[in-house]
């Protein structure tokens, strides 16, 4: 019963990008199904079900007894009934009872596969105890996938990686977009930077210094700037972290570099930020540090941490 026509959901498990693959394996059928079910009992007539379909704007009605699924009446069954004149009869006699069902804990990839394999427009979903818990249409899946894909793309946009070959070997540059007051994702850039340095087997003290510098700069963008970009340049002998924003600028850079000086408001302080230690911390851990700020163009902070020669040859 292969459906040779167009794929219902144009996503699959053999040539989709990794992000999509992860998504369709991570999401379970229960995450996409509709659990607000409209069902009919075994005594309902096809006429009653036709009415139900019209009132609720649905195209398939499961017939159930308690939580046990007995069958499904589809729009097509109703058309047949009208055509052949048995619309007043009980649905139980004419419903499809040889059903293909999904289980709620199956990955969504299974459901997508089912829609490709079978000609049905909807599948009932059962739980471990074989009880009816929901219905899935291809539209349910597409809608949820779009929501999730949006979220993934948002994540990818925040973090872009590109590499260029410099004169002194490979240089990798990563940029992270940071949004104003986005405390939810604050720390993402520094976590990624730290992971990368760990992979490169850098000295833990150097990693910690880079983590401090990048985190403080990231938090500064979240707290004080109208958002900005963190750029990390990974070289063989150093990491350079630059935070650049478009405003509003620091009125007095000297004040900002004074420990304890802060312009953070009350609610930001209540989160534990705004201690007036951000920039002083960055300067303290950096081998090279500079800051330039103007009220018209915003602020750019530059921090470079030099690596000692590593004895383990990780770069070849």
């Amino acid at each position: 019963m292969y459906n040779q026509g167009m794929q219902t959901i144009p996503i699959n498990t053999y040539n989709s990008p990794t992000v999509i693959l992860e998504l369709i394996y991570r999401l379970k059928v229960k995450d996409v199904m509709c659990s607000a079910l409209i069902t009919a009992g075994r005594d309902a007539t096809l006429r009653e079900i036709q009415g139900l379909m019209r009132h609720k704007s649905i195209t398939g009605v499961p017939i159930s007894e308690g939580k046990r699924l007995l069958g499904i009446v589809s729009m097509d069954d109703i058309i047949q009934a009208l055509d052949r004149g048995y619309i007043e009869e009980r649905a139980e006699q004419y419903m499809s009872s040889k059903l293909i069902v999904l289980e709620e804990d199956m990955p969504v990839s299974f459901a997508i596969n089912y829609f490709d394999r079978y000609p049905f427009h909807r599948f009932p979903v059962l739980n471990k105890h074989k009880e009816l818990v929901g219905m899935v249409t291809s539209r349910d899946i597409s809608t949820r996938l779009l929501v999730e894909i949006n979220r993934e793309i948002d994540q990818i946009e925040r973090e872009s990686t590109y590499a260029r070959t410099g004169e002194s070997g490979d240089v990798q540059i990563r940029t992270f977009t940071v949004y104003k007051h986005d405390f939810e994702n604050a720390g993402l850039a520094s976590t990624e930077i730290k992971k990368r340095l760990k992979q490169d087997k850098r000295d833990p003290r150097e990693i910690r210094r880079a983590a401090i510098a990048s985190y403080e700069l990231e938090i500064n963008l979240v707290v004080h700037a109208d958002g900005g970009v963190i750029t990390a340049v990974f070289e063989d002998d150093a990491i350079t972290i630059t935070a650049k924003d478009t405003g509003p600028g620091i009125p007095s850079v000297d004040d900002a570099l004074t420990e304890g000086f802060s312009t953070a408001n009350e609610w930001i302080r209540s989160l534990g930020f705004g201690a007036g230690m951000g920039l002083p911390n960055v300067r303290r851990v950096s081998d090279e540090f500079s800051i330039a700020s103007s009220m018209s163009e915003g602020t750019e902070v530059f921090s470079k941490i030099l690596f000692k020669k590593i004895t383990t040859d990780s770069k070849g």
Partner: protein, 111 residues
């Protein structure tokens, strides 16, 4: 000291415990995250009232093994999720920061 000792010896409630055999050798008490960032030692436990996701980010970046939330502060779901992901433990207690610091100090042998 093992993180498990915080639960068994002090009776603090473990909200997240990715590895109860993880050790700690120091502690730091502060509610200012930049201060924690700059000064908390590696392999330490953090005694604080900052019960939110950003505390986990700081802990993970500086190598803090556990966060002890004082004064009955709870950890919101997103904080617990982040802690599981980053492998940082979270405890909660009705003790205030001073009392918790003294007790953790006791565990560490008054160092």
């Amino acid at each position: 000291m093992r993180l498990n000792d915080i639960k068994t010896q002090l009776g603090y409630k473990a909200l997240v415990m990715p590895n109860d055999q993880a050790g700690f050798t120091a502690a730091y008490t502060s509610d200012l995250l930049s201060d924690v960032m700059g000064n908390a030692p590696d392999d330490s436990v953090l005694i604080t009232i900052q019960g939110h996701k950003n505390t986990v980010a700081v802990a993970s970046l500086v190598g803090i093994q556990a966060i002890i939330l004082c004064n009955k502060r709870s950890a919101p779901d997103d904080m617990q999720e982040a802690a599981i992901k980053e492998g940082v433990a979270i405890f909660s207690t009705t003790d205030d920061q001073f009392t918790a610091s003294c007790k953790i100090g006791g565990l560490l042998g008054g160092r």
